[in-house]
């Protein structure tokens, strides 16, 4: 394989898009981000895409590659090229800005709607909480905390695709880590939001989020935890 045939989606907000095909030299060390970069540098200077960290901690470069959402900076062409062909599109479930970039505003608004921010009980003048890593609730929080909010799970989620109000896996995963954070003053409030309208009960447990998560987290397990807690809360048992 000396050449890659790359189909890239081109288009603007509110405009019909179309695929454009490029032949790009295949190299030994080459990621999807490198392919997109080469197209912009050498063949199509008008191509728009987004990236920042280059190492899989910011998620800015996530795109749909051969039908699946991925971090392009961490996807080697050998992992995805089929007979030397690659198709690259913007992430799904978010409005496109131009070509491969999309608007993540709603994704972060839903993060907030799901209660996604910590309220503390003590201040910067106080020593930090003494909390052993063996604490069971802390372990549950830790299991979901390394999310980088790349929206790959959100893009993979069919429920978001059908129901644009659904808060989605990333926001609910964060809510789950918060309701398990014993230092948080707003655990009940977060739970109420996460189990409220368009919250965890909308999830159809298909597990696309968990399969797609590049970090290896399990948002579906977090959502399952929220559903269980919602039931207990309905039965009058506090969190």
């Amino acid at each position: 394989m000396t050449t890659l045939r790359v189909k890239i989606w081109r288009g603007n907000e509110n405009e019909e898009g179309e695929f454009q095909t490029f032949d790009v030299p295949a190299r030994e060390n080459q990621t999807i981000l490198d392919v997109v970069t080469e197209v912009q540098r050498v063949q199509e200077p008008g191509l728009s895409y987004r990236f920042a960290c280059r190492v899989g901690v910011c998620g800015s470069c996530a795109m749909t590659v051969n039908g699946k959402p991925r971090w392009t900076c961490r996807t080697h062409i050998n992992a995805v090229a089929k007979d030397g062909e690659i198709t690259i599109e913007p992430l799904r479930n978010m409005p496109v800005i131009k070509d491969l970039t999309c608007d993540m505003t709603e994704f972060f608004q839903k993060w907030q709607k799901a209660g996604g921010k910590f309220d503390g009980t003590i201040t910067r003048k106080d020593p930090v909480a003494t909390l052993p890593p063996s604490d069971l609730k802390r372990q549950k929080a830790d299991a979901g905390i390394e999310c980088i909010n790349c929206a790959v799970c959100y893009s993979a989620c069919d429920t978001v695709n059908w129901d644009s109000d659904y808060l989605g896996p990333a926001a609910l995963n964060r809510a789950w880590t918060l309701v398990n954070d014993e230092r948080a003053a707003n655990r009940q409030e977060v739970l109420d939001k996460a189990i409220g309208d368009s919250g965890c009960s909308s999830c159809h447990s298909q597990g696309n989020c968990t399969a797609a998560c590049p970090v290896g987290l399990s948002p579906s397990q977090s959502i399952h935890g929220l559903k269980r807690m919602s039931l207990l809360s309905f039965l009058g048992k506090g969190i």
Binding site: H76, K98, K117, R183
Partner: protein, 572 residues
């Protein structure tokens, strides 16, 4: 040219640790303030705070003290730091870490007894680095951006700042001119106060670690605005950057320090574990020594197929390597290399600018209303930054800047009328490439990065530095002949690549001038023709500013306000 004009009270440039903390603190100080945060990328996703692997230095451990952390910082910085800035950093870090945990919700790793875990980091006499495994930056930015998203503030994401615009009457800052990357339009944001927090980043070197959005734009604007830059010769190189070839963005990214600490070997292209020829501490010597040793091997031609050296881990047992460094093993595997099987080639890589804008302990600059924080600033680190002091620097001074801006507005805040000639000039500069045909911006950036690497890099000497100065002049001429073949301004990356080059060229010149001026070797700056460190008691720093079109250099003495060489503040 149409310019949209908006007004705000507090304008923050940059949305990393410094920018987000500034927004949070300004709003906490006065919720009625109209706060606007502008970022070249997405809020919290661009910049380098998120990329912090190591951790956050703080004197919170039993037996540790602010004095001890301060002495490590001053000695690590080879007596070049501005001592009151370093003291403010270290003293405030204590409160900032508690704020991150107690108010923002970060949870740093604990010992089995539930107390904070402090890890060892090179160059420090005490284990004082708090961390969240090796993803500390994600924990900090993740929690911080949630708090900022919840605030009622204006977010200008994907906005490139192009000019700090002074007041017409010269009384201070009037606002900032920007390009909205998404629409390609110009926007002038008039503000009572502005904070510069765009985050430096030595990305003009062939191998570099910072995120792709960082191209010294803030420093270039500051220089044009008339601010003075200090310590710009101090470029920190990280010894272990991934080497994947010239056409991949993975090249230059950091492989963590811990690989060497845990027992990894550095092996040259001839299969020799060479560090014993350079330092008795072998691979565990400090960043600067290891970087120089690797570079020497490369210069002698004892290299791997791609021109670097290898990092060997296999002797430790592949399973153990996978268990100890799961993130690094996976990243290398994603890039196509097995770390446990010794397949990874590495190079030293430009990591951090210790130098930057001269600023005060309250984050103010000499221009009323203009503040600065984070990697854009110089003074805290001197000749060498301790691993773990970088994220402390951005979060401490970002927060201080937020407090200071709110206080300034309460006391003497005013919207100043802009000097519109500066706006016109800046737009003309940004528009010019559209009227030029031809040229290849990427090729020129490659040439620049090679010159900086070969002649203004890890080992420096007068002959090379002077040659680089001449070469940079020819690049400047080439740059003005590079055009943009795409008229559509919307998300036009090729235009922004071209504008990035303006900033990189400007700071390359500054680094070269400062490197020529420092005729001794200390910390990150090594002169082959002046290999000794000069008299510490007579330490001067380099200060560069623009006079007309010309760079001016001065070398004021460092004032030992807290402690002088040979003495210590540590009470035994």
């Amino acid at each position: 040219m149409e310019i949209e004009h908006i007004k705000t009270d507090v304008l923050i440039l940059g949305a990393g640790g410094a920018g987000l903390f500034a927004a949070l603190h300004a709003k906490q100080a006065n919720p009625d303030l109209d706060v606007t945060i502008a970022s070249k990328g997405l809020l919290g996703k661009s910049g380098c705070t998120r990329m912090v692997q190591g951790g956050y230095n703080v004197a919170l451990g039993p037996g540790d003290s602010v004095e001890r952390h301060f002495m490590d910082t001053i000695e690590g910085g080879k007596w070049l730091p501005r001592q009151d800035i370093a003291w403010t950093l270290i003293e405030t870090a204590v409160e900032r870490v508690q704020e991150l945990e107690n108010e923002l919700g970060c949870f740093f790793d604990r010992n089995p007894d539930g107390n904070l875990h402090f890890k060892a980091f090179a160059g420090q006499t005490y284990d004082r680095t708090v961390h969240k495994s090796d993803l500390t930056g994600i924990e900090i930015i993740g929690r911080l951006m949630e708090q900022v998203w919840a605030l009622d503030i204006n977010r200008l994401e994907e906005h490139r700042a192009i000019e700090l615009v002074p007041a017409k009457d010269g009384s201070g800052i009037a606002g900032v001119l920007m390009i909205d990357v998404r629409t390609g339009g110009y926007r002038f944001v008039q503000a009572q106060t502005v904070m510069l927090g765009t985050g430096g980043g030595p990305s003009m070197y062939r191998y570099h670690t910072p995120s792709g959005d960082k191209t010294c734009d803030g420093l270039d604007m500051a220089l044009r605005y008339g601010l003075k830059l200090r310590d710009m010769e101090m470029v920190q190189f990280h010894p272990t950057g991934l080497l994947g070839g010239p056409d991949t963005r993975m090249t230059g990214t950091v492989l963590e320090e811990g690989l060497r600490g845990a027992g990894g070997w550095l092996v040259n292209g001839e299969g020799e574990r060479f560090m014993e020829r350079y330092d008795p501490k072998l691979e565990r010597a400090t960043r600067d020594i290891v970087s120089r040793s690797i570079y020497s091997e490369m210069r002698e031609g004892r290299t791997t197929p791609q021109g670097g050296i290898y990092i060997h881990m296999e002797h430790m047992g592949p399973e153990k390597v996978e268990a100890m460094f799961p993130g690094m093993v996976k990243r290398c595997a994603d890039c196509g290399f097995s770390l446990p099987r010794n397949e990874v080639e590495i190079v030293p890589t430009a990591h951090y600018l210790m130098g930057g804008v001269e600023f005060e302990c309250d984050a103010s600059t000499v221009s009323p209303g203009l503040y600065a924080a984070g990697e854009d600033c110089g003074g805290a680190h001197g000749a060498n930054r301790l691993g773990g002091n970088g994220v402390a620097n951005s979060t401490v001074f970002g927060g201080i800047a937020g407090d200071s801006m709110a206080a300034f507005i309460a006391k003497e805040g005013i919207l100043r009328d802009p000097d519109t000639s500066m706006i016109d000039q800046a737009i003309a500069r940004c528009e010019k490439p559209f009227s030029v045909k031809g040229g290849n911006c990427h090729e020129l950036r490659e040439k620049l990065s090679n010159t900086m690497w070969d002649q203004v890099g890890i080992l420096r000497n007068e002959k090379d530095l002077e040659a680089a100065q001449e070469t940079l002049k020819t690049y400047q001429a080439e740059l003005s002949d590079i055009g943009i073949p795409i008229e559509d301004r919307r998300f036009n990356l090729t235009w922004h690549d071209r504008l990035n080059m303006d900033s990189l060229m400007s700071m390359s010149e500054v680094i070269t001038v400062a490197s020529l001026a420092r005729e001794d070797s200390r910390g990150a700056h090594f002169r082959e023709d002046f290999p000794e460190t000069g008299d510490l008691d007579k330490t001067n720093y380099t200060q560069i500013y623009l006079q007309g079109e010309e760079l001016k250099l001065e070398t004021p003495p460092v004032e030992f306000t807290h402690v002088s060489p040979g003495n210590t503040l540590i009470k035994e």
